[in-house]
């Protein structure tokens, strides 16, 4: 069947669709609040009906009828397989190596996909303080791969983050191994302007695709580090079916879809 691309969609819907497409069927997914939840739920309704969503606060593979506003939301209890707590989920699922893909976000993302969710400026005298790691440092260290969601602004994409809350490739291809991390690393950064991926050899971010209405030059201009755009293609737009499912099944209350863009 030929794909019918949607004509009317918002940026956040486009990003949710891009997030969903990163998930493969049968994978075990660690999802956080907001866009990752939209993406993971959309994937379940489309190409990945057998993917399992795990919430760090305890619920495993629930059947959501209402969009959670917290990873510990009582809505995540509905028909879950198990519901324990952080210690069990982090140790026996994440650290044990069962999470295929984890979603992350943060205030700053650098050229190697390291994330800062802690502070701007010196750690002891921060200019701006953010909420902190939560589970994101754990997901970054111990998922088999990670997808990062971010607002694309120059100040949010520096060469080096002020504080590594959640390690990406750290400083290149040997970074994670040297740090002692057994596996993992970021595979994509879905931003408000495009999708970045990481060069296989250098592990530096490059522009893989730019969203409809955006030019590679614009993405370059809004990135604080030197960005290779030579491989960039246009982001595949959402299909009519994907948008319908997002609006009617995933977030009919408009809890996240009505927000302008992924904050943080």
């Amino acid at each position: 069947m030929e794909k019918k691309y949607a004509k009317d969609y918002t940026l956040i819907e486009l990003m949710a669709v891009a997030a969903a497409r990163e998930i493969k069927d049968r994978e075990i997914v660690f999802a956080g609040t907001g866009l990752p939840m939209l993406g993971a739920m959309l994937a379940q309704h489309t190409h990945a009906p057998n993917c399992t969503i795990v919430f760090e606060a305890g619920a495993v593979d629930c059947k959501l009828a209402h969009l959670p506003m917290s990873v510990g939301d009582p809505r995540t209890m509905r028909f879950a397989s198990t519901a324990t707590g952080l210690f069990d989920v982090f140790s026996t699922i994440l650290q044990r190596g069962y999470i295929d893909v984890g979603f992350l976000s943060g205030a700053q993302i650098d050229a190697y996909g390291n994330i800062n969710a802690t502070c701007i400026g010196d750690y002891h005298r921060p200019k701006v303080r953010f909420p902190g790691s939560g589970g994101s440092g754990d997901i970054a260290c111990l998922s088999k791969r990670t997808i990062i969601i971010a607002v694309h602004e120059k100040r949010r994409f520096p060469e080096r983050v002020d504080y590594i809350t959640s390690p990406g490739w750290i400083d290149g291809p040997e970074g994670r191994k040297r740090a002692g991390l057994p596996w993992g690393g970021p595979s994509a950064v879905i931003t408000t302007l495009g999708v970045l991926r990481f060069d296989e050899r250098t592990k530096r971010a490059y522009l893989a695709s730019y969203h409809p209405g955006v030019t590679p030059k614009q993405v370059k201009k809004n990135t604080g580090f030197k960005l290779d755009v030579s491989r960039a293609k246009k982001t595949e737009p959402p299909t009519e079916a994907e948008i319908k499912i997002l609006r009617e099944k995933v977030d009919p209350e408009g809890i996240f879809l009505k927000k302008v863009a992924a904050e943080e």
């Binding site: 606060a57 209890m77 509905r78 982090f90 390690p167 904050e263």
Partner: protein
């Protein structure tokens, strides 16, 4: 050791006596779920000072304690009401203004530290946080660490595993002076049952030297002992029991009530500014005699009806959230 007889049931005010100034405490719940809020409000009214707070992902429970000037130091992973606010406004202000001392870990890191304390071991090995600045940067100064023997002498240690040679992080155990949790059901002896995810409550409760449990209902021991496999904490670990229906408001308590979006939005709007924050506190905490009066203030029976959980789902499906 706490006894089996029914002398643990008390008032919020009596129970706050178990938390002296300078105590090392932890509160149950997770971001917008099941924090012991009635107890938090009472601690604020009692003007506790210099508390040392341990948490994984607290929300407004910690933000309000900080805003009220009760907290001196925090060890945590996160502080926000998730979808309602990107960060607790009082926490942010306190850190940026240097009004408190802080030490960052990850969520997994913190629950492992509670688990180690609960198991009575001095540290716990983990693979998480490797490669991050959480491992590289200490929050507390040497002076702070020396000032209180209950604070770990160092944040963590990285070693090579003696068996495999793998790089591994060792995290120091936490044993709190007092942990306070809010449970759905407790019996008069203290056996605790929690419905839904327990978050980190199990580890936070079991690492405590003293445990205070606020709850929705107190039932006969026979009722909980009919299905002991559903109970989380044995009675002898519990020192105080306080019945406070809706005691986690404005946060959700699975099977009983949902979070209160209206109140949470109001809090975050008011807490951004010093003056409006003080007004908010005067209205909802200092100016309120007891929990009954508080529940009236937040909208009374009509509000509670809106928040009441659907029996089957465990939350309020028709609640206006967007």
């Amino acid at each position: 050791m706490a006894s089996k007889v029914d002398d643990k049931i008390m008032s919020l005010r009596e129970a706050t006596k178990l938390v002296p100034n300078g105590a090392h405490i932890s509160l149950g719940g997770f971001t917008t779920q099941r924090h012991p809020m009635a107890f938090v409000y009472e601690l604020i009214r009692q003007k506790r000072r210099n508390l040392h707070f341990y948490g994984h992902s607290p929300g407004g429970d910690l933000d309000m304690l900080i805003g009220a000037g009760c907290v001196r130091r925090v060890e945590l992973a996160y502080e926000a009401d998730e979808a309602f606010a990107r960060i607790g406004p009082r926490f942010r202000r306190a850190v940026e203004g240097g009004l408190i001392e802080w030490e960052d870990y990850s969520n997994f890191g913190m629950v492992q530290r509670f688990a180690a304390g609960a198991m009575g071991i001095p540290f716990i090995p983990t693979r998480t946080m490797l490669g991050s600045d959480i491992v590289k940067k200490e929050g507390f100064s040497e002076k702070t660490r020396r000032s209180d023997p209950k604070i770990a002498p160092k944040k963590l240690a990285t070693i090579n595993c003696p068996f495999t040679g793998d790089k591994i992080v060792l995290l120091p155990a936490i044993q709190t002076d007092v942990t306070i949790i809010h449970a759905q059901v407790v019996d008069a002896q203290g056996t605790v049952r929690i419905y839904g995810q327990n978050f980190g409550d199990e580890q936070q409760a079991k690492c405590a030297k003293k445990l205070i449990v606020t709850c929705e209902e107190i039932v006969q021991p026979e009722e909980l002992r009919e299905y002991p496999e559903h109970n989380l904490i044995p009675f002898f670990r519990v020192n105080a029991i306080i019945k406070v229906p809706y005691g986690a408001h404005p946060y959700a308590c699975y099977r009983y009530y949902d979070y209160d979006p209206e109140f949470l939005r109001l809090y975050h709007e008011r807490a951004r500014d010093d003056a409006s924050f003080r007004e908010f506190f005067n209205e909802y905490i200092y100016g309120v005699g007891d929990w009954e009066e508080y529940l009236g203030k937040i909208g009374g029976a009509e509000k509670l009806r809106k928040l009441k959980a659907d029996k089957k789902l465990g939350y309020a499906p028709k609640l206006k959230r967007g």
